[in-house]
Structure formats: structure tokens, C-alpha cells
Amino acid sequence: MPSSAMAPNAHGIQQRSFNPYTENGGSIMAIAGTDFCVIAGDTRQSEGYQIQTRYKPKVFRLTDRATLATNGFAADAEALVSRIKQRLEMYRHAHGSSMPIAGIARMISTILYGKRFFPYYVYNILGGLDEQGKGAVYSFDPVGSYEREFCRAAGAAQSLLQPFLDSQVMFKNQLSTPQRKLPEPGTMKLDEVLKLVMDSFTGATERHIEVGDGLEMFVVRTPPAEGQTSQAGSAISTDLQAWGAVEALGGEDEQEEQAVVVIRRELKKD
């Protein structure tokens, strides 16, 4: 037999492949307070050097007490969020109330681990209020490992944002003195946290090409106790209308007014 007949064809062996994943840039972060939580993300979606859109939200209201930020592969994020919302609605039909945030966190973990060998290529940060009305942040890896924290950044500019949060939220590398006692992490005022988030993202926008266009900051706040008016200094008494806050959309439940609001800011577009 002639040796040429042994070869598959004149061009040699052919290979085909399909990569089911891509990376869509962007960054997210969340910071917990005593009676509130801020969950933020930029609104740029990109692939390589190409901007696909300047406004694609990646922070979603789930319930009156839980908001989810997703980052990574946008198609997986979309599939995951719709599945989470579906599960939350099922829970509500079965129990007549919204799932508490610790439950949502565990549920997200099991959903992610359910695809352990073909993962959702998404980094998630769940922010909101726990059952005591305290601010809560849960962060996840793509296969469901999770942890509760005071603050967390994820996504393209994670390495720029997280050390800054360590410094300004956790007060790392700072010492308490009699003149200036260091505050406990997670006890900052809402307006301080909002300023910090805006500074973080403008900084990340300067130095990271995948971050920019717009910023969405979701604020989840503890409502005043039954039959009481809100106390001065509490997050719910903070006037977020002045910041341009509007009621946040989405979620499986009916909204309590001012419980979840969103503040939109412009970021540099280049």
C-alpha cells in the first residue's frame, strides 16, 4: 500500500474544538454595615478589547433582604440568576415567605456545586441583611465554596479593589491609639460606605481597561421595627434621594418601600 494512503488526508490530521466559556470583564464588590449592605458593580460588558455594551447590569435584587452580584462569564451568570430566582419563587410558594439570606447562600452553593464538573464560570457576591437585620456579605467561588465576610471585591479589578477594602473597611495595618481608636470593621455609616465604593470604582476605572462606563450601587436597609419610626442615624433614615437613589427592580417578592434602592453613577467611558 502506498504510504500516502495511510495519512487521513493531504493536509494531515484535522482538529476541531469548541470553547464553551469566555470572560466578560467587569468588577463587583459588597460591604456590610450594622443595619445595611451595599452591593455594587460596574455596568460594562466586554470581550477582549471590545466593549459589547456600556450598560449590562450584573447586580440583581432577589428579595427585600438579599441582592446578588455576579461576575465572570455573562451567559452563565444569566442562566444562574434566572435559576436562583426560580428557586426563590418556588420557596415562596411553599413557605409563604422569602428565603432568609443564609438559606440563599447555602442554596447558591449547592446549585454551583451541582455543576462541579462543568461549572458556571461566575464569581458571586451575595449581599443583604441576616435574620437579626445586620448587614451580611457572602462570597462564592465558581464551584460553590463560600464564606460570610464584612467586605469582598471580585472580578477583573479584584486585585486592585480588595487591598483597598482591607485598608479602609477592615483597617488593616493601622494601629489604635488613645487619641484615635480604630472603629470595628462593619460599623461604618452608610454615606461613608457609598463614598468608599465610588472611590474604589473610579480608582479601578483609571487603572483597569475592563472597568468603566457606569456604576450601580444597591443599598439594602433594615426597616424600622413594627410600630416604630426610624431612629436618627440609622441607615433607613439616611436620605438616599439626595444621592439620586431609585427603587430597585426585580426579585420574586413585593417590595417594601425604600428597603432596596439603587444609586447609578457614571464612570469614565474610555
Partner: protein, 194 residues
């Protein structure tokens, strides 16, 4: 793993009002294994010019000797100390000389111009990539394995016209914060303020 991350280490420099600061970590590693905790990466060139050399430690030693030689020759011929900006261009051309077989070092230069220079006592900082592309920044420059973390910290903490004490605090917090999040840098730090 990239050769630039073989030994680990980071340097940052910042400009203030009539002052500059340059800081580095002290770690020397062999990939994940820490070998030394007293490995300063910043060296004096003249009384008023310093260079930080994060990257491959063997190239750091080679370049330090090379710059000592070239700056000594400069001083003998010119009968004066080299200015920070001139030195930055010397660094750049020294690195570009080896364009196709580079030294794996990304230098940071900080200094004050001499009192009898055309612009006396002017703070100066610059950074270069491994083949000599200079970056003259007015605010801060970063380099090394924690460079992205340093960018995030510096972008948030740095402001214009800081005095020497404020600049010391700013550069220290910037470096410390970045080192905490970088596995290849840390194990102590040195800050120099001019």
C-alpha cells in the same frame, strides 16, 4: 511560571510636595519557598537618587554593579553627580541594549535634582519595563509581583502635594496593603523619604 515571578518582590515610588519616597519589600524567594527576609531591592546611586530593582534577583545584582560602573564613569568624565532624569535615560538605554535577551528587572527610580540644577530640588520618579520603556509619572509608579495591588492602593490613597510625613504614611500603607494580598512579596519593608 514567568521568570519575573521567580524570586518575587515589589517596589513603589511616590511624589510629594518637595519630597519623594521609594519603598520596597524585603522578601527573596525561590518560587513558593522564602529564602531571605532582608533582601532590600532599593539602592543608592548618588546621595539624591535611588533605584529599586524588583524582578529576577541575579539580574538585579548584575544591573546594580553595571549602574555603579556607568555612574562612576559618568562622574569622572562630567565631574558632577548624575541627575535623576539623566540616570533614568541611562537605565533605559542600558536595558534596551539587551532588547532581544533582556534583564528580567523592572526598575523604579526616585530622586531629587541637585540644588545647582536648572530646576533645583525637583522631586522625580520614573519606572521602566524590562526593555527600557520609561514612564515619567507625576503621582506614583509601581513595579514587581504586587504591582496590580499597588496600583489599586495608590490610586485610592495618593493625593497631591503631600508633605514628607504624610507621604511616608501614604506610601507605607500603600505598600503594606499590597503586600498582604501578594504571596510573593512581603516579609518586611523599607521606606526611604527624601
Amino acid at each position: 511560571m514567568s521568570i519575573m515571578e521567580y524570586n518575587g518582590g515589589s517596589v513603589v515610588a511616590m511624589r510629594g510636595k518637595n519630597c519623594v519616597a521609594i519603598a520596597s519589600d524585603l522578601r527573596l524567594g525561590n518560587q513558593a519557598l522564602t529564602v531571605a527576609c532582608n533582601f532590600d531591592k532599593v539602592f543608592p546611586i548618588t546621595e539624591r537618587v535611588f533605584i529599586g530593582l524588583p524582578g529576577l534577583a541575579s539580574d538585579l545584582t548584575t544591573l546594580r554593579e553595571k549602574f555603579r560602573y556607568r555612574v562612576n564613569m559618568y562622574k569622572m568624565k562630567e565631574e558632577r553627580d548624575i541627575q535623576p532624569e539623566t540616570f533614568a535615560h541611562l537605565v533605559s538605554s542600558t536595558l534596551y541594549e539587551k532588547r532581544f535577551g533582556p534583564y528580567f528587572v523592572e526598575p523604579v527610580i526616585a530622586g531629587l535634582s541637585s540644588p545647582d540644577a536648572p530646576e533645583p530640588n525637583e522631586p522625580f520618579i520614573a519606572a521602566s519595563d524590562l526593555i527600557g520603556c520609561l514612564n515619567f509619572a507625576k503621582d506614583f509608579v509601581v513595579s514587581g509581583t504586587a504591582s496590580d495591588k499597588l496600583f489599586g492602593m495608590a490610586e485610592g490613597l495618593w493625593e497631591e502635594d503631600l508633605g514628607p510625613d504624610e507621604l511616608f504614611e501614604t506610601i507605607s500603607q500603600t505598600l503594606l496593603g499590597a503586600l498582604e494580598r501578594d504571596a510573593l512579596s512581603g516579609w518586611g519593608a523599607v521606606v526611604r523619604v527624601m
